[in-house]
């Protein structure tokens, strides 16, 4: 099984001979350089693709919300209003960049970059396919959880540095919400780590299969519950409705990014939309079988890689749709309810799931429910 | 190019800065910041020695425990700071002299 893009390419003889011929021609071994270039290119491509996906996120959100509310939604720019996001992008870039007079300018400028940094750093480990992964860290999931907590700092600083009451309250809510919900999310992820026996995405996805009965979602009752805990926690961590208290329009104008304009606001928005995509992708990889397609040999070929990426994107987009659907369906929570849900319900349930998964592994020798039912 | 000494130098610098921060600043939170730096310097040393001068990775374990202790210390310390602020409306370290008189 391949783990990174570079290794995937190097597994083809054509590519290897090509590299060695260039090395001969230059008189030095260029393999590391080529590898580096592949990484650079891959990172660029993935970042661009995901940024675009984030952009389309806004479009999807507007379209779907319009559909839910029996409206038409954006339909002016391009076919079906598809180019709306380009128009929005141009508008944002060309807007004047205003900073409040009393703001802490250093932090004010830093905050959106921290948020976007935290989100984009997670791309390094997201598995789009068995060969389309930037790097398959052996602490992949852990890394993802750790680095995405930078977003919390960004949100908090954005709220603090604006020197505005709305922003301040939004930032505080955001930070406390993110660090609180990190606990049930991490515990749910840990349960999956237990099941697969490793923290790398490659291993976690690899120990599942293409068909639903091989997914961790249906591995045992505890993992089934864990998925919903993770999904709820992820909604809260990405500040999505019904947990969008940090940017509650009715109370806080626009929350922590009230004072931001132009591209800085755009960065915050992009970070949010991309993070939703990332979180959906993580949920897909952990519970819904990830990029798995039927057939070992097929998966290795180039067409297989395409199929894997397609499967992954389809599943992720389905979850993305659910997220948007939830946003336009459920009312917002109160702050105390938010904390109660996290500390009194989700965390104990997540701990219970973790212990339950461990017990299941010991008692049933790691077999899933289906294996037990159809055991011969 | 990279050797044990480079890590030791960084760790020494961190320790030095942390100690200075701890002594010089009057804000209790700043003192806690200094303590974090000192703890990190120590943890870095552990890991560096573990890589360059030992055959096992016990150093990693030690630095993990250092992180744990830092977390506990930060939580309790900041709780004390906040409570102190509620009482005195200041977190100036020199005001915290109740035990003197």
């Amino acid at each position: 099984m391949n783990t990174t893009i570079a290794e995937y390419f190097l597994s083809f003889d054509v590519f290897r001979s090509f590299v060695s011929r260039i090395s001969l021609w230059l008189g030095t071994d260029v393999t590391p350089f080529i590898v580096f270039m592949i990484f650079l290119l891959g990172a660029l491509v993935i970042t661009l693709v995901l940024a675009t996906v984030g952009g389309f996120g806004t479009y999807a959100e507007r379209k779907i919300s319009a559909d839910i509310q029996a409206r038409i939604g954006p339909n002016r720019v391009g076919p079906y209003g598809l180019f709306q996001l380009i128009a929005d992008g141009i508008k944002m870039v060309s807007k004047e960049d205003i900073a409040p007079k009393t703001a802490d300018l250093f932090l004010f400028y830093l905050a959106p970059f921290l948020a976007i940094f935290g989100v984009f750093s997670t791309f390094a480990v997201i598995p789009f396919g068995s060969g389309i992964t930037l790097t398959d860290l052996n602490v992949g999931v852990f890394y993802l959880v750790a680095i995405s907590s930078l977003v919390g700092v960004g949100v908090f600083l954005g709220g603090y540095a604006s020197n505005s009451k709305w922003s301040m309250l939004g930032g505080m809510r955001g930070a406390s919400q993110i660090i609180s919900y990190e606990i049930p999310v991490t515990l749910s992820i840990l349960a999956m780590v237990l099941l697969s026996g490793g923290m790398s995405f490659g291993q976690i996805v690899g120990s599942q299969g293409a068909f639903p009965h091989q997914w961790f979602l249906f591995h045992n009752p505890f993992s089934f519950i864990a998925f919903f805990v993770l999904f709820t926690g992820a909604l809260a961590e990405t500040n999505r409705a019904p947990f969008d208290l940090p940017e509650a329009e009715s109370e806080l104008v626009s929350g922590y990014h009230t004072e931001y304009t132009g591209m800085r606001f755009g960065l915050f928005a992009l970070a949010e939309y991309v993070e939703v995509f990332v979180v959906s992708g993580v949920a897909v990889s952990l519970f819904l079988g990830g990029y798995n397609v039927p057939g070992e040999e097929f998966g290795h070929s180039l067409a297989g890689q395409g199929a894997q990426a397609t499967v992954f994107f389809l599943k992720t987009c389905a979850l993305y749709y659910v997220v948007i659907w939830i946003r336009w369906t459920f009312p917002r929570l109160r702050v105390d309810q938010l904390m109660v849900i996290c500390w009194k319900y989700l965390t104990p349930i997540a701990i219970f799931n973790l212990v339950g998964c461990a017990v299941w592994l010991v008692v049933f020798d790691g077999k899933s429910m289906f294996e037990l039912f159809f055991h011969h | 190019m990279i050797s044990l000494v480079s890590y030791l130098a960084i760790s020494l610098l961190l320790f030095f800065i942390g100690l200075t921060l701890m002594i010089a600043r009057k804000n209790i939170v700043a003192i806690l910041l200094g303590i974090e730096l000192i703890l990190n310097a120590a943890a870095l040393n552990f890991v560096a020695y573990s890589r360059f001068a030992a055959s096992n990775i016990d150093g990693h374990i030690f630095s993990l425990f250092v992180i744990v202790i830092a977390a506990a210390e930060a939580a309790v310390g900041l709780a004390i700071v906040i409570h102190y602020f509620q009482l005195k409306e200041t977190i100036h370290i020199d005001e915290a002299t109740e035990l003197r008189n």
């Binding site: 919390g152 | 942390g18 100690l19 804000n27 990775i57 993990l64 992180i67 744990v68 977390a71």
Partner: protein, 182 residues
């Protein structure tokens, strides 16, 4: 080569942010620079092959401690305040100005020097392996060590964390106003 680049970047980030932390007047900025330092140290851990420690460092410090610090700073006023001049015997000035920095600098320097002198022999005694070991995953090994050789420390630290959790919650909980009868 990449390791060297990473080392240099991390070292610069670490030291630069640490110095900035020291000289920043605004305590909020100090906290942010602390964040930079900690991420830099995580990078250094990566160059040392300590992947698990690096990620743990990021997780605990970035996700927890720094945000706690920011909260604490915000809840306690946030700005660096001017220290009142208090002099002990007219000799040791109150710190928080250039004098205090000078004193602190000197003290730290002397201390570090003395420690250096003290551990000089020990450092010499350590046999430094010439070529660095290959990078291997440490996760499994750490997991195994934590549950075998270091299980007591592991359990004790969990107890410590629980104690800290409860202690912090109790100390920082909002007090009711005292009844007026006393």
């Amino acid at each position: 080569m990449y390791v060297n680049i990473l080392f240099l970047t991390s070292a610069l980030l670490t030291v630069g942010c640490a110095v900035a932390m020291l000289i920043a007047r605004n305590i909020m900025h100090s906290c942010i620079f602390l964040l930079g330092t900690l991420i830099g140290i995580a990078g250094l851990y990566v160059t040392l092959g300590a992947d698990f420690v690096a990620v743990t460092q990021t997780m605990v410090y970035v996700g927890g401690i720094v945000i706690l610090m920011l909260f604490a700073v915000m809840l306690t006023g946030g700005k660096e305040f001017v220290s009142r001049a208090q002099k002990l015997l007219g000799l040791i000035p109150a710190m928080g100005n250039k004098w205090s920095f000078g004193i602190a600098f000197l003290t730290s320097f002397v201390f570090v020097l003395s420690q250096f002198v003290l551990i000089k022999n020990i450092v010499k005694g350590v046999e430094v392996t010439k070529e660095a070991k290959p990078f291997v995953s440490t996760v499994e090994e750490i997991g195994e060590l934590l549950l075998t050789d270091h299980v007591l420390a592991f359990e004790l630290s969990s107890v410590l964390l629980l104690g800290a959790l409860i202690g912090a919650a109790i100390i920082a909980r909002p007090r009711k106003e005292r009844v007026a009868n006393d």
